[in-house]
Amino acid sequence: MYAVNSEIQAASETLPSKHALRKPVNMGQICRWLLLFAGGILMVAPIAYMISTSLKWPHEIYNLSLVPEEPHLENYIYVLEDGRFYGWFINSIIIATITTASNIIFDSLVGYTLCKFRFPGRYIVFIAILSTLMIPTEMLVIPWYLMSQSLGWLDSYWGIMFPGLMTAFGTFLMKQFFETVPDDFIEAARIDGLNELQIWWTVAMPLVRPALAALAIFVFLGNWTAFIWPLIVTNSVEMYTLPVGLSSFGDEADVQWELIMTGAAISTIPTLIVFLVFQRFIIRGVVMAGLKG
């Protein structure tokens, strides 16, 4: 899914080339553009193949040509008519949305506390949270599984979501961003009679909106594309998330790539929407944060 962002970036980076060409061109510039062009192709290629494959018939999917012999929409019709796809789509939407909301709330709550309150052990707590960043997911999967098993969380939304409801990275990101909120704002609000929770929500949170938007994009995309954990924790086909579900298209002997690619193409749509919506916040937020006072 990150490829999707990169595609947008690449597109916006190659745009100004027309203007640049009007000026005298030097070698450095040509090299730069060539490099960017190569990078752009590298990032766009998988997506182009995804879409191209989704328009092919099964017999030509191992043909590397980017242009299908006879493009058709049968795959899309098949996937959309297959009832399972909707279920997985809804599962993914629910899981990614709840996880994103949870991260926005709890990461920023903890980040704010670590940043703006002085209490004994604060530094140790911070270091402890940070150090969890160094443990790879692959190592955590087994403990999570055992935990879910003994608590009866297997094959449930909660089971899929619980490891990601709060992240160390998000907490760290929010703590760093709250550093940019001057204490005066918080003290002024305290004098104005807000309690600490209100200060966090009505004063501090709006001031870090760009960070919240970035966090929302990260978390949403991360959960939308998560594969290993949902694959392990779910058993029934109805509980699958989209990536897990798509990978199950076809049987062991015959992977139906054209259907997987079709599903993947459709599944990029929500991520595009999320990105476009929150990107606007990021830009607005940056404009706002650039002002003094």
Binding site: P182, D184, F185, E187, A188, A189, R190, I191, D192, G193, L194, V203, P206, L207, R209, M288, L291, K292, G293
Partner: protein
């Protein structure tokens, strides 16, 4: 009636004591300015009054009530911060209205109050704007407005003008003073700018290293400074300090000059003689110092001359039309009434000119 009383206020951060017993009574409606060099504890004092920091010991009384253990919002104070602290994501109306959150007024009363404040601050047209669409002075006025709507017993200002340029600062200074005359609330105003202190205050509190050095009207602290510190801090350019010695009924300066002042001082007591540049002129009667002009600073009606003397460099004021030139040898004289004498050891004043 006293609207604010500080009794022996002490504040420590960890093991460092930064305020060493501040005592002060402020009358209702008084405009008191805290002034002092950076790090002397002005902000800390203000934050203690506001309740943003806990006192280590001592008592704070606001409007007849000891408030040491009250939350900031219950202390009946309002504070204006140096960088305004107006919320960038709210309109001016919301920002000002924020100050009324805890009030028990009805919705219509709130509205009326808000509009009244906007009217006083001349901001009625700006109520719908966001802070980003305001100038620095207007933002500062929003911050003042947010404090004003609460109609607090005491207003606290922490260097509210230091982010503004010189011209705007002068203008806001006047506006705040007018505002005070109009609304009449008690104001505690912190600054490190002695001009601000002199022009706005009913009373000035001069602080240094966590101690109050002197409390008095602008005229008192200017004309009758209690210590060399106050004498040099107030007034620009600062007072000339000349080392000397008490001898019988006079003071002998290093320059050899004798100043006849009958202070009844002990013979041989080391003293410091203070003369403001405004009171020290080239020529005139009995000279107390002489030296060579090293720099000349024309101010228009007058010219400042820097004179190199055996007592070190001193600044004197000359007539702007015929000032001495650089390199000229000049004799400087001062009216004995304008001479301050301080104890060289304690740095405290021995006599105050009338």
């Amino acid at each position: 009636m006293a609207s604010l009383v500080l009794r022996n206020l002490v504040k420590s951060f960890g093991n460092t004591e930064v305020l060493h017993g501040i005592s002060l009574a402020v009358d209702d409606g008084e405009f008191v300015v805290f002034v002092g060099p950076s790090g002397c504890g002005k902000s800390t004092t203000l934050r203690l009054i506001a309740g943003l920091e806990e006192t280590t010991s001592g008592e704070i009384e606001i409007a007849g009530r000891v408030v040491n253990h009250l939350e900031p919002k219950n202390r009946n104070i309002a504070m204006v911060f140096q960088n305004y602290a107006i919320y960038p994501h709210m309109t001016v109306r919301k920002n000002i209205g924020f100050g009324l959150r805890t009030s028990k007024l009805s919705k219509t009363e709130r509205r009326a109050r808000l509009e009244e404040v906007a009217e006083i601050l001349d901001m009625t047209d700006l109520l719908g704007r966001k802070p980003s669409q305001l100038s620095g002075g207007q933002r500062q006025r929003v911050a003042i407005g947010r404090a004003m709507v609460r109609d607090p017993a005491v207003f606290l200002f922490d260097e509210p003008l230091s982010n503004l340029d010189a011209q705007l600062r002068a203008q806001m200074r006047l506006e705040i003073k007018k505002l005070h005359q109009r609304v009449g609330n008690t104001i505690i105003f912190v600054t490190h700018d002695q001009v601000e202190a002199m022009t706005m205050a009913d009373r000035i509190v001069i602080m240094k290293d966590g101690h109050i050095q002197q409390v008095g009207t602008p005229s008192e602290v200017y004309h009758r400074p209690a210590s060399t510190f106050v004498a040099q801090f107030i007034g620009a350019p600062s007072m000339n300090m000349l080392a000397g010695e008490a001898v019988e009924n006079a003071i002998h300066l290093k320059s050899g000059a004798k100043i006849n002042l009958d202070l009844g001082l002990k013979n041989g007591l080391p003293v410091i003689v203070g003369v403001r540049p405004d009171d020290l002129h080239p020529g005139g009667g009995a000279s107390i110092l002489e030296g060579t002009v090293t720099v000349q600073e024309p101010l228009g009606p007058e010219t400042l001359v820097y004179v190199d003397t055996v007592n070190g460099e001193v600044i004197a004021k000359a007539d702007g039309r015929v000032p001495p030139q650089v390199g000229d040898h000049v004799a400087l004289s001062a009216d004995p009434d304008c001479i301050h004498v301080f104890d060289a050891e304690s740095q405290e004043v021995l006599t105050r000119p009338l």
